[in-house]
């Protein structure tokens, strides 16, 4: 018995030694690295991961980890103090911000877009406005050649086919952006109750609504079903070559999603927002969707990184470096599908660098 226990113990120690050796062998040679651990928005994840790669060429000692569990989980981990920073699509609510007052900074770091995609052969450059989209997702516009759609698209031959309406089946920030746009631009047709991460889609009761899991699921459903319509993150629409609809913005123009149109929306949204990263940004999610201004794309969104103002020891310097880098160099290398933030926003974000201090103990 004792012999067996000893053998077991030996095996455990041997495997630990082997694993440690492999870990040290595989690890890139870096002295005195500082690790920053973040969590939150899965939309932001590929970008943060890419930045963590890029930043090493300038600051090899800085290791950034990020856990994409969702904006809600990220905010709660941030409030519970188990992470160094959080990523979130909506900023802190006014209430949460007031509780943490003075101890956090919130920076919109990257812009995203939601595209309305459709699968109707022979129809390119379809124009839609929020009212027609709301009617489609309510199930009240049933055919592609309905008067409501045809009115917006003179000169385009629309087929007399039933519309298959695709939405997300899982709880999703993309859905929240989409429904919030419908509500802001067509409040009579799309009431507040239908805004959210997984609303009760009226079109489902007509039997023509179907749900897909994730952006991938919606993309595949739209590709597979002729005469369907759906909404996905812009990068999925581009990657899969789906037809993208032009949407009416607040100024009455029909705009296709593009980096310039998204930056325009971000720039115009800033007028109603605080001019400092430690202000109350709680209306910041709302402001960028259906933003005013010529050339703004209405389904624009941005994602925030949340930092504390105080960090122990070397982490403070690491956070300062990270914030400064993502608002300068980092904006030059955004991943496909994201849009860099406009100059105006970068200069607001950079004010945060001065606010990060070493915690006094």
């Amino acid at each position: 018995m004792l012999k067996r226990l000893a053998a077991l113990l030996l095996a455990v120690i041997a495997s630990m030694a082997l694993l440690s050796y492999a870990g040290q062998r595989w690890k890139p040679e870096v002295l005195d690295s500082v690790v920053l651990h973040g969590e939150g928005s899965s939309f932001l994840y590929p970008q943060v991961q890419a930045w963590s790669e890029d930043i090493r060429s300038s600051y090899p000692w800085l290791v950034i980890n990020y856990n994409p569990t969702g904006s809600g989980a990220g905010q709660s981990a941030f409030i519970k103090n188990v992470v160094d920073f959080a990523g979130s699509d909506p900023p802190l609510t006014g209430e949460a911000w007031a509780r943490l007052r003075g101890s956090v900074v919130q920076l919109p770091v990257v812009i995203g877009m939601v595209a309305v995609v459709y699968n109707v052969p022979g129809v390119e450059g379809l124009r839609l406005d929020a009212e027609v989209l709301a009617l489609i997702y309510r199930g009240e516009v049933e055919y592609w050649d309905d008067e409501a759609i045809a009115r917006l698209n003179p000169g385009i031959r629309l087929p007399n086919e039933r519309i298959i309406v695709v939405h997300r089946s899982d709880s999703s920030g993309t859905t929240q952006v989409f429904t919030l746009y419908l509500h802001k631009a067509a409040p009579d047709l799309w009431p507040q109750e239908l805004v959210g991460k997984s609303p009760d889609w009226p079109v489902d009761y007509t039997g023509r609504g179907i749900g897909g899991k994730g952006n991938q699921g919606v993309t595949e459903l739209v590709k597979k079903n002729l005469y369907s319509i759906g909404y996905v993150e812009y990068s999925y629409a581009v990657k899969e070559g789906l037809s993208i609809a032009l949407l009416e913005n607040r100024e009455g123009e029909y705009v296709a999603p593009s980096p310039e149109a998204a930056q325009e929306a971000a720039k115009n949204a800033l007028s109603n927002l605080p001019s400092s990263p430690d202000g109350d940004w709680s209306s910041g999610f709302d402001a960028v969707i259906y933003a005013p201004g010529r050339g703004s794309y209405p389904l624009t969104t941005w994602s925030f990184l949340l930092f504390y103002k105080e960090y122990p020891g070397p982490k403070a310097e690491a956070v300062r470096t990270f914030i400064e880098w993502i608002n300068t160099e980092g904006q030059k290398s955004v991943v496909g599908g994201y849009v860099p933030i406009p100059e105006e926003l970068r200069s607001i974000n950079l004010k945060a660098v001065e606010m990060i201090r070493v915690a006094e103990r």
Partner: protein, 284 residues
């Protein structure tokens, strides 16, 4: 004049075989897809698939799953260290003190633990371990996985210990052994294969678990665990990487997920092969 009884018999046989094939077809489809797509990813990456961190999303390069592979191995080891003694002693108690109220309650609790969604176990560990520690860690993940492992290993080991005939125990007592000696030297010895099987089933089960890790280890995709002290730091694991990379639109990350799926399948396959070997010998 056909013999109807024979025809009916034949129809029945054919139907059974077809239905059995239908049942295993999806499994083979999954295995084949994982082998083909994962195999080509691993071949493309070469050695660096096992050692490097993931490459930039959407780039031509693949990178690797080094931190996640190491993390999974560390998790397996640490989970066994926590979970196996716990499960063994629980099973021994349940068999030896079968009649006691506490043993009965333990049986009910361990078997109902099977029904608890594993994500809840992860959230519990988040509140009880991660928040007080102030950070995610591989150790927290191991604790969550050990809880997930418990009911599987306990029920296997309990059955194995139960199967040892009473006469062997009596023989042990008759030469003056204490209860502990009888349990650990006689019963465990005879049931050792069953016990080992229980441990392996438990380990195989938890190595492929994603949900308990979501809120416990923190997917630290850039940090290599370099020794036992790394258990107290955030880490990564293969199932978590598969889950998170498969949801992104970047094909190099999706390839990494496929490769990791193959890697994980192979690890599990090795464990189950060990299991089969153990069981075959029991029959002799």
């Amino acid at each position: 004049m056909p013999d109807w009884r024979r025809v009916k018999d034949r129809i029945f046989t054919v139907a059974t075989v077809l239905l059995a094939l239908l049942a295993v077809a999806p499994l083979f489809h999954i295995l084949a897809t994982v082998a083909i797509r994962g195999g080509s990813a691993i071949l493309r990456g070469g050695v660096s698939f096992f050692t490097d961190p993931p490459a930039y999303p959407g780039s031509e390069e693949l990178g690797g799953v080094g931190p996640a592979l190491l993390g999974t191995l560390w998790l397996g080891l640490a989970t066994s260290l926590i979970g196996v003694p716990l499960a063994l002693l629980t099973a021994v108690y349940m068999v030896e003190y079968r009649e006691s109220k506490l043993a009965r309650a333990t049986r009910v609790f361990t078997s109902s633990l099977l029904e608890v969604p594993t994500v809840l176990i992860g959230m519990l560990v988040f509140l009880v371990v991660v928040v007080p520690m102030g950070r995610y860690s591989l150790a927290a993940g191991s604790i969550a996985l050990a809880i997930v492992m418990l009911p599987y290993t306990v029920s296997y080991v309990e059955r194995a210990l139960d199967g040892v005939p009473r006469t062997y125990r009596e023989a042990g007592y008759s030469i003056g052994m204490t209860r502990a000696q009888v349990v650990f030297q006689v019963v465990m010895g005879i049931a050792s294969r069953g016990v080992a099987a229980g441990v392996l089933v438990g380990v195989a089960k938890v190595l492929s678990e994603t949900a308990p890790l979501l809120f416990t280890i923190g997917s630290a995709r850039g940090s290599y665990p370099t020794g036992p002290q790394s258990l107290l730091e955030p880490g990564d694991a293969l199932p978590l990487l598969i889950f998170q990379f498969a949801q992104t639109p970047y094909s190099n990350w999706q390839d990494l997920a496929w490769g990791s799926a193959l890697l994980l399948t192979l690890i599990i396959l090795v464990i189950f092969t060990l299991l089969r070997l153990l069981f075959r010998e029991v029959k002799l």
